[in-house]
């Protein structure tokens, strides 16, 4: 094969892969703006925003989205606070079991959260926490903590210690040092962790599906599911419009932190050899 032919073949392959990946999106994008949408992605010219208008009611999408914002937002804020505090001694002090602790955190990130939900459910039932949004947020925070502490510590390690020395000379304790010096300097890192946790919980389906009791508490992830699991009477155009409205914030936030997240895919920095 000549160079030109190889190049053309590679581009063709990439084009085919891209088209294949686009396929499943087609229907959602088309159906959302077609007044008579069905399950088939029909390339018609009829265009209307009726589907969006139809789902933009309090019960259909506004309340579920507010629930999503409350659950994901509270989890993100709480995770950042707790992980930020925990990362400080892990980053600044020579602790005896620091390495063990960090490795345990990394180990925990590998455990299947899906499996943990059975005992959590049993526990919530026994202690009358079933259906409690705050209790679920605490669980979601705990499940986000291992990775968040890990990320937070790495960002904190990037803040030079000598910047804190002035604060110590002035008699500031660790808390002041953390909030007045380290925190502001690692603001971008804090934002990355917060958005990472937020987007993760935004898409979380299983935990609220299992731990919350009434539809009024459910986030959009569960509402979408109930929307399209009711076979036969589905307004497909509305389902598509709902999907777009629900997905948009996650995509927007992802784009905002994309640059930072991409760099975390290099294992090279973290591994030897």
């Amino acid at each position: 094969m000549t160079r030109v032919a190889a190049r053309a073949a590679a581009l063709l392959a990439l084009a085919l892969i891209t088209l294949a990946f686009l396929g499943p999106f087609l229907w959602v994008l088309l159906a959302s703006v077609q007044p008579e949408a069905s399950l088939a992605a029909k390339p018609t010219l009829s265009f209307s925003l009726d589907n969006f208008r139809a789902v933009l009611t309090w019960d259909t999408i506004i309340l579920p989205l507010i629930n999503s914002i409350v659950i994901s937002g509270a989890t993100a804020v709480l995770t950042v606070l707790v992980a930020g505090l925990a990362a400080y001694p892990l980053s600044r002090y020579q602790l005896r079991y620091r390495r063990h602790f960090m490795l345990s955190l990394l180990f925990t990130t590998g455990l299947p959260v899906t499996a943990i939900l059975v005992p959590v459910y049993a526990m919530f039932f026994r202690f009358n926490l079933y259906g409690s949004v705050p209790a679920m947020v605490l669980f979601l925070t705990a499940s986000s903590l291992p990775f968040s502490i890990w990320m937070m510590k790495n960002f904190m390690d990037g803040v030079p210690v000598n910047l804190e020395e002035a604060a110590w000379v002035d008699g500031a304790g660790w808390l002041r040092s953390l909030t007045a010096v380290v925190g502001p300097l690692m603001a971008p890192g804090i934002a990355v962790v917060a958005i990472f946790v937020f987007v993760g919980q935004w898409g979380n389906f299983f935990a609220p599906f299992v731990l919350l009791d009434t539809p009024e508490k459910q986030p959009a992830a569960v509402t979408v599911y109930t929307f399209f699991s009711q076979y036969g009477q589905v307004a497909y155009g509305q389902l598509a419009a709902f999907s777009i409205l629900y997905t948009a914030p996650a995509v927007f936030l992802y784009v905002a932190v994309n640059k930072y997240l991409a760099s975390s895919f290099s294992f090279a920095g973290s591994v030897k050899g």
Partner: protein, 304 residues
């Protein structure tokens, strides 16, 4: 994870490791909330699942009030339960098909094809592949539900009429999961390939090695670690996968696509067999823990 080497500990007026109680307070206090949450909501439930997996706990009926210790009965039942064994086999097929073969290989191929391409090509391909990864799993399921429907896009393109979710449910969920997860492997491999020294590959080309040999003898050995780490991570993610399959096929038709997480869901949350469900959860946790340990060994964390 880009891990910056830790700065030296503070060596100014304060002692590094205080021998006084004040020293202990300095690290215990900020670490406290995290330790409490992790103990109550992660370690606690896991330990409790070890306990209830040995009881006949249910949420309804008499065993909900008087659950009692039944020894290894749940586990004996588990390994003689054809539905569990079926789910286990399906999980294995799902992980091998969608993660190990699908996502891993496709991610590597895309990353390789993208090398040396222009910025526009790269961002278009990246954008589309990553979009499939960013959408919430329930929306991904809705996309595939319509894509595979009898009236759906796939049948139109292929010119056939198939109710894929009924005739080939495992193939359907495997394809959907490849679509959803390939971006992760692609990103891992793009990062790994960017660290492969170009002159090494060029030198091999000068020596007359074709593209296939260069890939097999130079590139792949150099990114071996990334491949192994990636395989472990995507296996862990796929093992526990629930939402996509549940929303797409519900495990059906019958039990044709009921992987272990879905079987666990059915036992614990539909039949309220909490003890039995916990036994299944425990088996999943142990398998996850084994993979997680292998992963830890593989990446050899430099600074923790």
């Amino acid at each position: 994870m880009t891990i910056v080497t830790a700065p030296p500990p503070p060596v100014t007026s304060r002692p590094v490791r205080g021998s006084s109680r004040r020293g202990a307070m300095r690290w215990l206090l900020p670490l406290g909330p995290a330790l409490v949450l992790l103990a109550l909501f992660l370690a606690g439930p896991i330990l409790w699942s070890v306990y209830i997996a040995f009881t006949n706990e249910t949420l309804t009926g008499s065993a909900s009030v008087h659950s009692r210790f039944v020894g290894v009965a749940n586990f004996v039942k588990l390994f003689g339960d054809p539905n569990f064994l079926n789910s286990f086999l399906l999980t294995f097929v799902f992980v091998i098909g969608s993660a190990v073969i699908g996502q891993n290989t496709l991610g590597l191929i895309i990353a390789l094809l993208q090398r040396g391409r222009g910025r526009v090509t790269r961002s278009v391909v990246n954008g589309v592949v990553i979009a499939a990864w960013v959408v919430p799993e329930v929306v991904a399921a809705a996309c595939w539900f319509s894509f595979l429907a009898e009236e759906g896009t796939l049948n139109r393109v292929l010119g056939v009429s198939q109710e894929w979710l009924y005739t080939a449910p495992m193939l359907a969920v495997i394809l959907a999961n490849i679509w959803r997860g390939t971006a992760f492997s692609m990103l891992v491999y793009s990062a790994a390939l960017s660290e492969v020294p170009a002159d090494l590959v060029e030198a091999a080309a000068v020596d007359g090695a074709g593209p296939g040999r260069r890939l097999l003898h130079i590139t792949l050995p150099l990114i071996r670690r990334s491949i192994m780490a990636n395989l472990m991570l995507i296996t862990l993610q796929t093992l526990a996968s629930f939402g996509l399959i549940y929303a797409l096929t519900g495990g059906g038709p019958g039990t044709a696509s009921q992987t272990t997480p879905l079987y666990m869901y059915e036992q614990a949350f539909r039949y309220f067999e909490i003890g039995y469900g916990s036994a299944i959860a425990l088996v999943m946790l142990v398998i996850g823990a084994l993979f997680s340990l292998v992963y830890l060994r593989l990446i050899k964390v430099e600074d923790a």
